[in-house]
């Protein structure tokens, strides 16, 4: 167990360092952001001063050293446009994104696990067809598109729910459903195949042949065994939703990391783009590590392999 743990930990740390290096050089490949930040009438000398003040004139190696030293001590630089430490800005936005991702995941699980179970238990039945259709729809309909239609229908026409923002629980519903829609497809599919696998495994057949009732077999034997692969999938889903919420956050004016990233892209605020990418990636790596450890704790086979 300790071996497994330390190996995963070391891997994750290496990955994090890799992300830092990769992102730094990717972002430096682009042009000069100063012209977009300063007002149109700023004279050329002021541009130069500004560049100096922002440390953009240092040699690349020096900038890289500063960047790595900073990153290790939790300093992700300062936003060019907002003039605030990036980490501070990100941490302020993080709860909104986590809330939205959890909301979306909750919705996706709520719809897709029962559908996947029903489909997997009775392949070829109407429930199975429904689950497959839902999965395909989730993968084929752009979620921002869905979000816009939701606003027009549920907020403007019916006045059931708020059209934007993050004010109360009701503001979460539309964006979470729109975001969760895409994840549904994956979850239905995976639940369904997990059920199929468990059902065809020996112990379930044995239970069946012993004459146990169907519902009892599913409750006692199938469900717990389907839960294990689902946990790791949920971890992946969650990190996917963290990064994938860009469109939905923009459409619903949801003050999270996604709308922050979109704004930073629009303003060419490269330090902020860099910091968001790094933060989300490190966050995702940590979540994967956690789910792996959890998985390892539940499924003893992993620890020894």
């Amino acid at each position: 167990m300790i071996g497994f743990l330390s190996k995963r930990l070391a891997e994750s740390v290496l990955l994090m360092i890799g992300v830092l290096i990769l992102v730094f050089f990717m972002v430096r490949l682009t042009g000069d952001p100063v012209s977009l930040i300063l007002p149109v009438n700023a004279p050329i000398e002021q541009r130069e001063q500004f560049r100096e003040a922002m440390g953009l004139n240092e040699p690349l190696v020096v900038q890289f050293r500063e960047f790595m030293l900073g990153a290790v001590t939790g300093d992700l630089g300062e936003s060019l446009r907002l003039r605030q430490p990036n980490l501070e800005i990100i941490l302020e936005r993080l709860p909104a994104t986590i809330e939205l991702a959890l909301g979306a995941l909750f919705f996706a699980v709520l719809v897709s696990v029962p559908l996947g179970l029903a489909g997997g238990m009775n392949p070829g039945s109407w429930a199975d067809k429904l689950s497959r259709s839902v999965g395909l729809a989730g993968q084929s309909i752009p979620n921002y598109w869905l979000g816009m239609l939701f606003i027009v229908f549920f907020a403007v026409e019916l006045r059931w729910l708020p059209s934007f923002g993050r004010d109360s629980f009701t503001s979460l519903i539309l964006p979470a459903v729109a975001l969760g829609f895409a994840g549904m497809g994956q979850l239905v599919r995976l639940t369904r195949s997990a059920v199929l696998e468990v059902r065809s495994s020996d112990f379930v057949r044995t239970a069946r042949s012993k004459g146990l009732r169907r519902s009892r077999v599913s409750g006692k034997h199938v469900l717990p065994n389907v839960a294990i692969p689902l946990i790791s999938v949920l971890g992946i889903q969650f990190t996917y939703l963290l990064g994938g919420s860009v469109y939905i956050e923009v459409v619903f004016a949801w003050p999270g990391l996604g709308s922050l990233l979109e704004g930073a892209v629009r303003d060419s605020d490269f330090p902020l783009i860099q910091a968001i990418t790094i933060f989300i990636s490190l966050f995702a790596i940590s979540i994967h590590l956690l789910t792996d450890l959890l998985y390892g704790a539940i499924d003893p086979r992993l620890r020894h392999s």
């Binding site: 290496l14 992102v23 972002v27 395909l136 816009m148 992946i236 990064g243 469109y247 994967h288």
Partner: protein
């Protein structure tokens, strides 16, 4: 969806589950049917792309200012000269959607092809040579996979700027990690098999073993994955269009049309609805086909 979708697909393929169910035969028939539907939809799109100048009544950039924003033919004020109506520049939407299929298929097909090429090459190299080569390649693959896909795509697109080549390049590179994994995994698995060991023992080199023993075994899963990747790329092209990061605005891509039409959703909905439907139909078709492929040509399905 891409990285994740493909990864999930790998997991499913790897475990090869659900193949011994009593109702399997029935299910296969059903899947055949939906697979055929998928194939049909895809062929429709391919036909549109290939014969665009024959099908489309106008060129993609043809029109006159006085014809701007005409509604579809079946609405009041609509004209049969413009089946799906026109956009702000008076360009025929139907024609643009037909021509748009070229862009989408090009992005999807070349993007997936590039991803497969890069991925499989690196995967085979890593798997075959092992050691440091393997560690570096695997490390880089994991690195790309650890950055959430959409964020990675947005950042790279921002850096590269708008061009068709850049978009294809972007999807090719970011789509490659799953193929590295599949190819490498397959090599590792096969290397342990006695007949491959024997071949190596008899002095067969990589040049002989890869085409003989390894490629045939991974063609199935690769084709399935590539199909899903292709649909994901078409899907993501529209997403990049939404953020103004896709192909240049003068290229009639569905993503660009959707991004433009979005502003008119409440007043001239046709400008956004039809490109949206085109994307949905295409991705649906490819996904159905992918499902079918996965279930029928997965080699391990046959093995067992």
């Amino acid at each position: 969806m891409s990285a994740l979708g493909a990864q999930a697909a790998v997991e499913e393929i790897d475990s090869g589950q659900g193949l011994f169910h009593p109702k399997r035969l029935l299910r296969f028939l059903l899947k055949d049917a939906s697979g055929m539907v998928g194939l049909g939809l895809l062929l429709l799109v391919v036909a549109a792309a290939v014969f665009a100048p024959l099908i489309a009544p106008y060129g993609p950039a043809e029109g006159s200012f006085s014809d701007a924003r005409l509604p579809p033919a079946w609405q009041a004020d609509g004209t049969t000269a413009h089946l799906f109506g026109t956009d702000q520049l008076g360009q025929d939407l139907f024609s643009r959607i037909i021509y748009g299929s070229r862009v989408s298929l090009l992005v999807g097909f070349l993007g997936a092809l590039l991803a497969v090429t890069i991925g499989v090459t690196l995967g085979l190299v890593a798997g075959f040579f092992g050691g440091w080569t393997d560690r570096v390649i695997t490390g880089f693959t994991n690195l790309l996979l650890s950055i959430p896909y959409l964020v990675l795509v947005i950042v790279i697109a921002t850096i590269l700027g708008r061009s068709l080549t850049n978009v294809i390049l972007l999807f090719g590179v970011t789509g490659s990690p799953v193929f590295v994994r599949v190819a490498r995994g397959e090599v590792m698995r096969l290397k342990k098999l006695t007949y491959v060991e024997a071949a190596v023992g008899l002095g067969a080199g990589a040049g002989r073993i890869i085409p003989r023993h390894i490629l045939p075994n991974i063609v199935g899963p690769l084709a399935t994955l590539a199909t899903f990747e292709m649909s994901a790329m078409i899907f993501y092209e529209s997403g990049l269009g939404f953020l103004g990061l896709s192909v240049p605005p003068d290229v009639p891509s569905w993503g660009n049309m959707l991004a433009l039409g979005r502003r008119f959703l409440t007043t001239h909905p046709w400008m956004a609805v039809y490109p949206g439907i085109a994307i949905a139909i295409t991705t649906l078709g490819i996904n159905l086909l992918g499902d079918w492929l996965r279930d029928t040509i997965d080699p391990r399905a046959k093995e067992r």
